[in-house]
C-alpha cells in the first residue's frame, strides 16, 4: 500500500530535498503533500490523509511543536508518526518533542541515509 506523506517546512529548499529523499528511499511512496508551517499543514490535513509527517520546528505562524501537539490531540491524526527534521538540537527541545509524541528526530544538516534510516524504523 502506498504511503502518503506530508512535509512541513518554511523552506521550499528543504521541502524539495526531503521530497527527493523520499523518492529515493525504499518505501512505496504515494502522494507527497507540502506545507510551509503548522497552520497550513493542519488545514491541508483536513482533506488529505497521510501515513507519515516530516516537520521542521522553527516556523512562522505555528511551529512544529505546536503542530505536533495539535496532531496528537486530534483523533484522525493521533496515530500518524511525526519525524521532526530541524536545526533545534538542544536536549530540552528534543525531550519536548519526544514528550509530545514525536516518532523521531533528525537534526539539520542531515544526510539522505539518516532520513532513510528513520523511515525504515517506522515503516
Amino acid at each position: 500500500m502506498a504511503l502518503d506523506v506530508m512535509i512541513v517546512d518554511d523552506s521550499a529548499a528543504i521541502r524539495k530535498i526531503l521530497h527527493r529523499v523520499l523518492v529515493q528511499a525504499d518505501v512505496p511512496l504515494g502522494a507527497v503533500h507540502e506545507a510551509g508551517d503548522g497552520k497550513e499543514a493542519l488545514e491541508k490535513l483536513k482533506s488529505a490523509s497521510v501515513g507519515l509527517i516530516l516537520s521542521d520546528i522553527n516556523m512562522p505562524n505555528m511551529d512544529g511543536l505546536e503542530l505536533l501537539s495539535a496532531l496528537k490531540g486530534q483523533e484522525q491524526t493521533r496515530d500518524v508518526p511525526v519525524i521532526m527534521v530541524t536545526t533545534e538540537g538542544s536536549s530540552s527541545r528534543v525531550m519536548e518533542a519526544v514528550n509530545l509524541g514525536a516518532a523521531g528526530y533528525v537534526r539539520k544538516p542531515f544526510t539522505a541515509d539518516q532520513i532513510k534510516e528513520k523511515l525504515a524504523g517506522l515503516i
Binding site: S11, E88, S90, P109
Partner: protein, 178 residues
C-alpha cells in the same frame, strides 16, 4: 563568550553544513573582530537573530555568483539567476549554520531562540547594527570565492523574547537597493 570560541563554533558548524548538505569543502580564511557591521555592499546576505540570556545577530553573506552555486549544490540543479529558490536556499543554509552554533552555545549560555531568516539581495546596500557589540567575522573560501559568517553576541540586558529581537533585527538593517 569570546571571539576565539565563537570562531571555533562557527567554523565547525559551517564546515558541517557545507560538507553534509552541499558536498563542499570550505577553506578557512583569517577570522577577525570588527566594531561595526558594515558587511558586504552587494550580493546576498541572510540575517538571523538570537535571543535569550545572551542575544545578538548572525549573518551569512556571499556574492550573487556564490549564492547561485550554493543553491545549485543544495538543490542539485543549476541556477542562472538569483530567484526565490536561491534566496530560500541561502536562508536555509544560514538557518542551519547559525542554528547549530546556537545549539552549541546553549550548553554554556542557556536556552536561546532563533528567528526566521531574512534574506537581502541587491547592490549598493548597507547594513547597520543598533547594538554596540563587536562582531566576530569568520570568512571562508567556498569554490574559489569568499563567503563570510558574522556573529555578534552579548549578554542581554533583559531576557527578551523573539518579538523584541525581531524588532531589533528589522531596525538594525538598513537596506538601500539600486
Amino acid at each position: 563568550m569570546n571571539h576565539d570560541k565563537l570562531t571555533q563554533l562557527v567554523r565547525q558548524s559551517t564546515r558541517d553544513v557545507f560538507g553534509t548538505m552541499l558536498g563542499i569543502e570550505l577553506l578557512d580564511a583569517d577570522a577577525y573582530i570588527q566594531d561595526s557591521a558594515p558587511g558586504p555592499s552587494e550580493g546576498v546576505m541572510a540575517l538571523i537573530g538570537l535571543a535569550g540570556q545572551w542575544a545578538g545577530s548572525g549573518t551569512f553573506s556571499c556574492s550573487a555568483a556564490s549564492a547561485r552555486q550554493i543553491a545549485g549544490q543544495l538543490l542539485m540543479q543549476p541556477y542562472e539567476a538569483i530567484d526565490e529558490e536561491v534566496l530560500d536556499a541561502i536562508g536555509e543554509v544560514t538557518n542551519m549554520v547559525l542554528g547549530n552554533v546556537k545549539t552549541s552555545l546553549e550548553e554554556e549560555l542557556g536556552p536561546m531562540g532563533l528567528s526566521i531568516p531574512t534574506v537581502i539581495y541587491g547592490r549598493n546596500f548597507t547594513t547597520r547594527s543598533v547594538a554596540k557589540s563587536r562582531w566576530s567575522v569568520v570568512p571562508f573560501v567556498c569554490m574559489g570565492e569568499r563567503v563570510e559568517v558574522h556573529l555578534c553576541l552579548a549578554p542581554s540586558k533583559e531576557a527578551g523574547g523573539l518579538t523584541r529581537l525581531a524588532k531589533d533585527q528589522l531596525s538594525a538593517v538598513l537596506s538601500i537597493l539600486d
